[in-house]
Symmetry: C2
Subunit: 458 residues, 2 copies
């Protein structure tokens, strides 16, 4: 695609044109996909983005917005060519308003950088995707990102108050107000969250902050039955105890992660799965009181071993093993990562279906994820499967997994989005009317269809 | 408007046609507004609503959806005539899923009825608008309703997982999935919340539940300075303490409510305003530990008196006085109720501007509301003002109040919606682009504009 009009109309912007420097914009963290853009740029202001979009809109040049490139559904891949607009240089934390417990940030700010900056004031920005060390706030917003601590704190959508958005027309709007409540017109802020760069380019966000907990305590429970394990999750959440996170791990995933990261983890003989509970707060004693309450619940539901983290080094090891499962499992083989989500009590049924479908199609899967939210990451490994089988038969199995999610009241993505890699499965949960409404909404924001074409909107 | 086609095409439905029985559908709780519909009906199923909408869509008959009629912005008023569709008979609680802590309800269910039903299982549906004893879940959703306990628990939008919606075409869709997370396409669920009957008729909702707290403790703090009062709110929320509610009351409002309800309240000499803190939990001792932590904060910020509720009778009285302020102030005079919202630390600035503007225009205002959320209800009383002045000059003052909200990062409605009564002020916060986007979204759902015409979408 000829994008030279952009360069000729905006000659002073720092365009990236040579293939070598365009390559980093051709991939994200999704499988083994790669699409080279014709042009890329990392603007330093919303005004520059407005100028770019206006020209793209006039000349029908595809625009793919890219945050930090850590996405897992290929939403940032320029599958239709054109220009990639990276938000990486929109990296300023504009204001930390301690009195209102809000921060205003440019959307290229890395999640961990925001966390660090507000921690200096005793505040926390809770959403914590596994990639929080490198992912951007804008990418989190565009994907509706979650993370382990969602059980207590909620997800990205629960922390976004107001967004600055550049529309294809070049107009810049704020979607709402800097308030905790807003019943003024349709909720454009929530509409932008999870919109995957298809409605506008999000350039600033006003986010809600909470007091930073100073203490954390982990509790590990080992089970020999997935069903009992999932029952334990429901039982704990029905009690008066409020864990920050409840993570589910299959033993196979833990073993891979332990080996790859050379980190110890207290494996229990006979255990097939584990729950990792995190409790946080402001007084260590309170946390011990909390976990004492859930011992009897876990006991009654057949936990074969229960142990608190004896110290913070151990806690860090346990988190390290948990967080590394995704990465290390993927190092074993080419993979497809599915982001299934169901009402949490249906997790064992989903898991047993995943295994049954895996046997039927002959693929290995390693499962782990956010049990408190019913969000199970299913990593399907290619191993020795042929390319043809991997590309044509395995997707049929994945479709069956998603049909199971739907039957259980769930859906096909809890926190990774649809982007490019999941678009073929969307008809499992969407009727033609859903597609029509969403396509209509897209047309209102982006009548010429320049924003992120080739993704899930047909 | 001739709606006889509806009756002739659907003769078996229980149409309400005579004026006497139509009158109850002509009003809600907004000021002194009244608009008689041509026809009304309270269907008992989404299927019947689908049949009705299909015909209205075909013959361009205006449809105004009505919940329990407790709205404060006139969204349920049939200002363009046509048919009122009441959800009052969609009153079934379909399922209480204790394992997933979710309930599926028809949207005519009264908020308090849902609360009672789930309380039997030790669960709570937290959103608690002042009218929770009579308002409907559907009305709460349509307005993005809040309530005092939003400080700890959030608002309606934080508890809605999935919605069944009847579109003007007669199609019935579910907007999402029954999961705590969902990154699958645009967030239609959140788009429906606060949409005031303009995008579809919401017939079922899957809502999130939480464990029901068993203990409550109130703490009352009296101040002689609004500025110090608002600073105290910020300081408490920055600490490790988490109140469920922080309500602000002017002494004048308390006095009116005490007198009208014949309820005692510990007025403190010299106090101009009060903060009512509510703490809830599962163990009474914990709550006393909590409030002990905030005494020094309130002391330091100049509270002239601080007192916990000695027993539950007293606590009930304090809540009664607080809840009755709105109603009893309105009994004094014809009024206009404004639902201002700003970042919470800006409340004193907003309040002093409200008073300054009131002096300038010569109107009395009584203010109270949700200090923890920066949501201040401003009741403006007509008293002895002439009709002409009330209708033409006072709105100029209201506009100035809203301009102040905008300047402070806030907006013109936090939880009541825009509906009919606030529509003339919307241009204070919306640019033509906002209107254009929202009008576009409406056209996608309701191409013929039959749903709630005459409201804020022009």
């Amino acid at each position: 695609m000829d994008c030279s009009i952009l360069i000729s109309k905006l000659p002073d912007l720092p365009w990236i044109t040579d293939v070598e420097n365009l390559v980093p914009f051709s991939k994200d963290y999704t499988e083994d996909l790669q699409f080279l853009p014709d042009l890329a740029i990392a603007p330093t202001s919303a005004d520059d983005i407005a100028k770019i979009l206006k020209i793209c809109n006039q000349f029908n040049i595809p625009v793919t917005t890219r945050g930090a490139g850590t996405g897992l559904s290929g939403a940032a891949l320029p599958v239709a060519g054109g220009v990639v607009v990276s938000t990486e240089k929109l990296d300023k934390i504009i204001q930390i308003d301690t009195l209102n417990m809000q921060a205003t940030v440019e959307t290229g700010v890395v999640n961990a950088h925001l966390k660090e900056a507000v921690a200096a004031y005793g505040l926390s920005y809770p959403p914590d995707p596994a990639s929080f060390g490198s992912c951007s706030i804008g990418g989190n917003i565009a994907h509706g990102a979650g993370g382990p601590r969602a059980v207590k704190y909620g997800i990205t959508k629960d922390y976004i108050l107001n967004l600055e958005v550049v529309l294809p027309s070049g107009e810049i709007i704020w979607t709402g107000s800097n308030t905790l409540k807003n019943s003024t017109g349709f909720n454009l802020t929530q509409l932008m969250i999870g919109s995957e760069g298809m409605l506008g380019i999000i350039t600033k966000a006003v986010v809600k902050l909470v007091p930073l907990p100073t203490q954390e305590l982990l509790l590990l429970a080992a089970f020999d039955s997935l069903t009992q394990c999932a029952k334990a999750v429901s039982a704990v959440l029905q009690s008066s105890v409020k864990p920050a996170a409840i993570e589910l791990m299959e033993t196979s995933g833990i073993e891979i992660s332990m080996k790859a990261t050379q980190t110890s983890f207290p494996l229990v003989k006979g255990a097939t799965c584990y729950l990792l509970f995190s409790f946080d707060g402001f007084q260590g004693d309170d946390l011990f009181t909390e976990i004492e309450k859930i011992y009897p619940i876990l006991d009654e539901l057949g936990a074969i071993d229960i142990m608190p983290s004896p110290n913070s080094d151990t806690a860090n090891d346990w988190w390290k093993v948990r967080r590394a499962i995704g990465e290390t499992v993927k190092q074993k083989s080419i993979y497809k990562e599915e982001d299934t989500v169901v009402p949490r009590y249906s997790l064992p049924e989903l898991l047993s279906e995943v295994k049954r479908i895996g046997e039927k199609y002959g693929f290995e899967s390693v499962c782990y994820g956010h049990a408190g939210d019913g969000n199970l990451h299913v990593n399907i490994l290619k191993n020795e499967l042929s390319d043809d089988y991997w590309n044509h038969e395995v997707p049929k199995g994945i479709r069956e997994i998603f049909e199971c999610c739907k039957k259980l009241g769930g859906t096909i993505s809890g926190e990774h989005g649809i982007g490019y890699s999941q678009k073929t499965y969307l008809d499992v949960v969407f009727t033609p009317t859903h597609f029509q409404l969403m396509k209509g909404i897209k047309s209102v924001f982006d009548p010429n269809g320049i924003l992120n074409p080739g993704k899930w909107i047909r």
